[in-house]
Symmetry: C2
Subunit: 215 residues, 2 copies
DNA sequence: GTAAAAACTTGCAACAGCTGCAAAATTAAC
DNA sequence: GTTAATTTTGCAGCTGTTGCAAGTTTTTAC
């Protein structure tokens, strides 16, 4: 090797990385400008200066390009899980990771994050894809929880993760669709975690028979 | 009108209903026989004895035909929710509806139910679609919960439904992928409901710091 | 430094899902 | 039985997606 400049990455890898990012950036920009359906693969390829055929060697489908960066986020979550100090209870770990991740997301100010959300809310196909990714992530979390808590019944572990992810997701979507500020979102998440830790039976409204007779 | 035979349904409606069912049945049969991707719209249309173009006036996409009957199931759930006796607490309603629905599903023996599940597990696109339907159903459930419990905070209602649906879904999927019998599934659901009612903190494994130092 | 090998890009052709449109067939209404 | 409304159908066309066979670029070996 000659120089090995640019941090231990061969020319090939660097170029691929740049191309991938160029395609993703072009795609998200065009999606934001004209909409998802109104943008063709040919448009994206032209804007990224590659051949249309090349698009599919970087992303398996037009939908996948929307989630290009999300895998990096998942890596962050994994890292936060690994950073668990000895003595921290699993529940505390959960709470910490959730709040840290939200903080990181808010701080990041991702230019594309907002666009992605908007796209997802508009295009059912994208929403479906996002839900599936979340579902896949659930599996990984369940496995991790089992590793941390060998004493926990495997089916219970699945339930714990499913309920937690489902509850948090509902809280986040509620806040989003109701124009909450980040601070309010954090409060809502904290509240949601509390409900799930203490149980639904801790909500008086759920254990009291409501008046349901009409006048 | 001459007779008004066949229960207050015009010839037109009856025919449409039959056509719709014919298409769905042909599609599910072919999917089961050769697989989803290996079956074309033309195949389905031929088997159902309609023109290919007609398929799309009954179902918006090839994927949607897989979920043809599911809307009827949802109607059942709605009815069960309405059948709430006065004095029943919301938590009890939840528990009752879940268990009744599972019983109905098990009793039904749907020939297509198993095939549908298999398809969903194989085809990511179908799994995504199913998750989205579940997500949409969550919204409706949240609205209903709010109607029943005006005292409940709207964001809390979303969390309650999200956590419940997420937890139950996780339990069901766990049982399915681990070859549980219907009886075991019921037990698992009961257990899951208990966890969510009493809270995650009621699981000792989650509130005890595990040993995490290696040897 | 050059030549061979490996990896990546590209163009071409083709298939399948899906849509709009207008003609043909069917059902309903009078 | 005639007319109006609705449904089915065929057609033409676009887009996403894939396989294949060049052509190009980067890497590796000498």
């Amino acid at each position: 090797m000659h120089h090995d400049a640019a941090g231990s990455l061969g020319l090939r890898e660097r170029k691929k990385r740049r191309t991938r990012q160029a395609i993703a950036a072009a795609a998200l920009r065009l999606f934001a400008e004209r909409g998802f359906d109104e943008t063709t693969i040919a448009d994206i390829a032209a804007a990224a200066e590659v051949a249309p055929r090349t698009f599919f060697s970087y992303f398996p489908s037009k939908e996948d390009v929307v989630f290009a960066e999300i895998d990096d986020r998942l890596a962050d979550v994994r890292e936060r899980l690994d950073r668990r100090p000895p003595g921290e209870t699993p529940l505390a770990t959960m709470r910490r990771v959730v709040l840290e991740t939200m903080e990181a997301l808010a701080a990041e100010h991702g230019q594309f994050a907002a666009a992605r959300i908007k796209l997802m809310l508009e295009r059912p196909a994208l929403q479906a894809r996002a839900l599936q990714r979340l579902y896949d992530a659930e599996h990984e979390l369940t496995e991790r929880l089992q590793t941390i808590c060998p004493a926990l019944d495997p089916s219970d572990a699945a339930v714990v993760v499913g309920a937690t992810v489902g509850g948090l997701q509902a809280a986040i979507m509620y806040c989003r669709t109701h124009g909450y500020e980040p601070a309010e979102l954090n409060a809502a998440l904290d509240r949601a975690l509390g409900i799930m830790e203490r149980g639904l039976a801790s909500l008086p409204a759920l254990t009291t028979a409501p008046e349901n007779g009409p006048a």
